[in-house]
Amino acid sequence: MILRADAITKRFGGICALDKVSFEIEEGSIVGLIGPNGAGKTTLFNCINGTLPIDDGRIYFCGEEITNKRSYELARLGMCRSYQIVKPFRSMTVLQNAMVGAFCRVKSRKSAQEIATEALETVGLYEKRDEKASNLNIGESKKLEIAKAFSTKPKLLLLDEVMAGILPSEVKVMSKIVRDINESGVTIILIEHIMEAIMSLSERIIVLNFGEKIAEGAASEVVRNSEVIKAYLGVEEE
């Protein structure tokens, strides 16, 4: 078990964005995290990776308690995330962007370049390595998000809607990237709205709604769960 969340609670003023959410992530797996808009998925990532402090609960990573550790410490421990709203370093080139991540593991520029190059090859951005990050289109920016995070040599990667807003033809490419990274030994939690992709990629799925975990299990089971159908369709079942 690589990650364990124990009753994480996060409030923003009055609203409870996460309400006692608990789960465990098996090492080496791909786990899908789904839920309607505003369910608290991104907030859950923010809390796990130390971007936001949590109000209650505990988080363990590789057996070590990491509750409220800073995100740069977690990156060094081997946890890194991508952003739903991409955050490239615009004035730097694509390669330099990935190198920032690589410097998490190595000191010299040469080794950082090697690691970053490998990551760019994995996501298929090698050809674009000398472009300014600000010149990338949305699909490429999402790939750069993955490459930056992958360059830190993570054990656990949190991917937030890397397939949102890209061309349907690119979804397959992105799925393959996710699978390749997973096969290189990285555990992945994947937030995604595209059901097809998430169903084919993830062994298990966690469903959030209004900050509560409403279902968890194998992909095929979860989509048949009545709570989940209710949450997604917003109608009462007869």
């Binding site: 740069y72 890194c80 995330r81 370093f89 004035s91 730097m92 330099q96 930056k148 995070a149 360059s151």
Partner: protein, 292 residues
């Protein structure tokens, strides 16, 4: 003097240019360097060569304290805090007459000699200023290729995204701020020995800060050679302006102000990056022409 200004502009650029957060009060470190050297020499006869190092050490300590307190502040608040800090030091230099000679300043005794860092001709000063400039620019070149440089740029662009990749943003900023402060302090020491007389309104003034900041901004924020380009175009131009129209005082200030406005309006990062972009575009166009 152009060498010295270039070195100062590059020192400032080392933190603010690469990180994109303007430390407007940087003259404070120039003042610390100038005063440390001048006072130790004038009052205790300690060689300015040692004075430079003492000034640098003092600046490092002050940078640690000030940086630790202010670097976490967001954009505008950080800029304001650096101004406040420079003002406090300037006021201290004026009021602490017993130590600093108050607004009268410090007169540096003229006894030529290598140990005293004093010469009758200008050449030795030029060599020192040149060496200073080369060292600071070399440091910037090295920064661009180092982990610290990558981290600094990343933090400047997006702190949260940088931390996610394992960058300790506070430490990164503090390190660069400290190095920048020490380099600025060295420049202040050299300036004091060249001018042979210092007073608070000169070495610690905001105008002084603004001058070398302008050179860096005009030449190219966050580029190793930007300050060089900026200084070697602007310093002679301002001198000519001052020389040809002596009756209109402040004309050079007006010019620098105009340049700053142009740079900000067009959102370029200064002369050097603009040139580079131009060359890149030309090249790309040439390539496309060949293809088609």
């Amino acid at each position: 003097m152009t060498f010295l200004w270039t070195g100062l502009a590059a020192s400032w650029n080392f933190y603010s240019g690469y990180c994109g957060r303007l430390s407007i009060g940087h003259a404070a470190f120039l003042g610390i360097g100038a005063y440390a050297t001048a006072l130790l020499y004038a009052n205790y006869g300690i060689s300015p060569w040692i004075g430079i190092l003492v000034g640098g050490a003092l600046s490092a300590i002050v940078a640690l304290i000030i940086g630790g307190a202010t670097l976490r502040l967001q954009g505008t608040f950080f800029v304001l805090s650096t101004i406040a800090f420079a003002k406090i030091l300037e006021t201290f230099a004026i009021t602490a007459k017993g130590i600093t000679g108050g607004s009268l300043g410090v007169l540096i005794p003229y006894t030529p000699g290598f140990l005293n860092m004093t010469w009758s001709g200008k050449l030795p000063y030029a060599i020192i200023a040149w060496a200073y400039m080369i060292i600071v620019i070399a440091a910037c070149v090295k920064l661009e290729k180092s982990k610290l440089g990558y981290f600094l740029k990343a933090v400047g662009e997006n702190k949260e995204a940088a931390e996610n990749l394992g960058v300790n943003s506070s430490r990164t900023m503090l390190k660069a701020f400290l190095i920048s402060a020490v380099f600025t302090s060295f420049g202040g020491s050299i300036m004091a020995m060249y001018v042979m007389y210092i007073e608070p309104s000169f070495v610690m003034s905001m105008g002084n800060s603004v001058q070398f900041i302008l050179l860096a901004i005009a030449g190219g924020l966050g580029t190793a050679f930007g300050p060089l380009v900026g200084s070697f175009i602007l310093v002679p131009v301002t001198n000519i302006l001052r020389g040809s129209f002596p009756s209109i005082s402040g004309l050079h200030g007006l010019l620098l102000g105009l340049i700053l406005i142009v740079v900000l309006l067009y959102r370029t990062n200064g002369i050097l990056p603009a040139l580079r972009e131009f060359v890149d575009n030309q090249r790309r166009r040439a390539k496309n022409d060949i293809k088609s």
